[in-house]
């Protein structure tokens, strides 16, 4: 399976020989970490608006931002007058060379940083940012990777943010790779980027969206609200036989439950990329 995804360069092959590594199609499918160099930046908030009852969408202008790949994150550092600082990671909902970036931040009940970002931040405020970060949980168009494999995205709650960036990059590139997004949200009001997701489904790049509601469904929804089950997962993801690349992002519990089920359903563990954001 991995043969057709073998990196084109000899350097990569030599590295594999020096440290014997099991055949690994997921890494082979990645170009090397060709992501812009991380650095510290100051971002100016140009817009802050409610995304869901519990989350805010922030648009930031970052003068010297080097651009970012779809799926990357950044760290936000807040510093109190007494010097105490707290740093938290947030996925970037946008991608590309633009110096305008979008975050969507979920408020954690006992958080040190997210309540400020969700409730307090206003247009004109400045934030200390470190990024772009992480070359692992990224997606690139098939024209760059040569990968013909379909892509399954699986989001729990605010874990949809990097997957929205990936689905948007897929649409912007008019990429012919079949995509499917399975998105678990509490209620219809808790769906991030609801309008944009509808637009992506209608775009020319193939994307199928499957929503699962865990607390309350829209009227007339065919299934009652419930956490996703293994059976529901199996019914809503690209079958293992089609060898999809799978990206899973959500709370640690969600990601580990889903990743375990995917392996039980026959998906190659090396084809499953995960990003856990911790509690609840």
């Amino acid at each position: 399976m991995s043969d057709r995804l073998t990196p084109a360069t000899d350097a990569a092959a030599t590295a594999e020989a020096a440290v014997p590594v099991v055949a690994d199609s997921s890494t082979a499918a990645l170009p090397r970490s060709e992501t812009p160099r991380a650095g510290w930046h100051v971002g100016t908030v140009v817009a802050a608006r409610r995304e869901t009852p519990n989350a805010t969408r922030l648009e930031l202008d970052v003068d010297d931002w080097p651009g970012n790949a779809a799926g990357q994150h950044l760290d936000v550092r807040l510093t109190a007058p007494d010097g105490y600082s707290a740093t938290r990671s947030y996925s970037i909902a946008s991608s590309g060379p633009s110096s305008r970036i979008v975050l969507a931040v979920d408020k954690l009940p006992d958080g040190e940083v997210s309540p400020f970002l969700v409730e307090e931040v206003r247009a004109g405020d400045q934030l200390e940012l470190h990024g772009p970060l992480g070359a692992y949980f990224v997606w690139r168009p098939a024209v760059e990777t040569g990968s013909p494999r379909p892509v399954q995205l699986i989001a729990g709650g605010s874990g949809v943010v990097p997957l929205f960036a990936i689905a948007t990059a897929h649409a912007d590139a008019a990429d012919p790779t079949p995509f499917r997004l399975l998105y678990s949200a509490r209620t219809p009001a808790d769906v991030y980027f609801a309008d944009e997701l509808r637009g992506l489904v209608a775009a020319s790049a193939p994307l199928r969206l499957d929503l699962v509601y865990t607390r309350r469904t829209p009227d007339g929804w065919p299934v009652p609200a419930a956490r996703i089950t293994r059976e529901a997962l199996e019914a809503a993801v690209i079958p293992a036989a089609h060898e999809p690349l799978v990206y899973v992002c959500g709370s640690t519990g969600f990601v580990e439950r889903v990743a375990d089920w995917l392996v039980e359903l026959g998906h190659d563990p090396r084809s499953i990329r995960t990003e856990r954001y911790g509690g609840t």
Partner: protein, 85 residues
């Protein structure tokens, strides 16, 4: 506190390494499995960060930071594969 994964190391380690360490593959001294650091389990507290093997849970690495320096340990890593170029 709930653990996260090695993706979260990208920021802290970018201050000390000139490449994205989370894409480097490390071999666990405990079980021999080889995996990108992004796939490891990460436990953070006020004292510092502990990185554990996703396969056998052995400690791979630790990171402790103070105001003016950092201590980075790779006590459970026998080799690291870094892509060149």
């Amino acid at each position: 506190m709930q653990h996260v994964d090695g993706n979260a190391l990208a920021g802290p380690l970018a201050d000390y390494f000139s490449f994205d360490v989370t894409m480097a593959r490390a071999r666990c001294l405990g079980c021999g499995s080889i995996s990108e650091l992004a796939r490891a389990m990460v436990y953070r507290s006020g004292a510092g960060t502990v990185v554990r093997c996703a396969t056998c849970d052995a400690v791979l690495a630790t990171l402790v930071e103070s105001d003016d320096r950092a201590w980075i340990g790779f006590s459970g890593v026998s080799a690291v594969e870094v892509r060149r170029g």
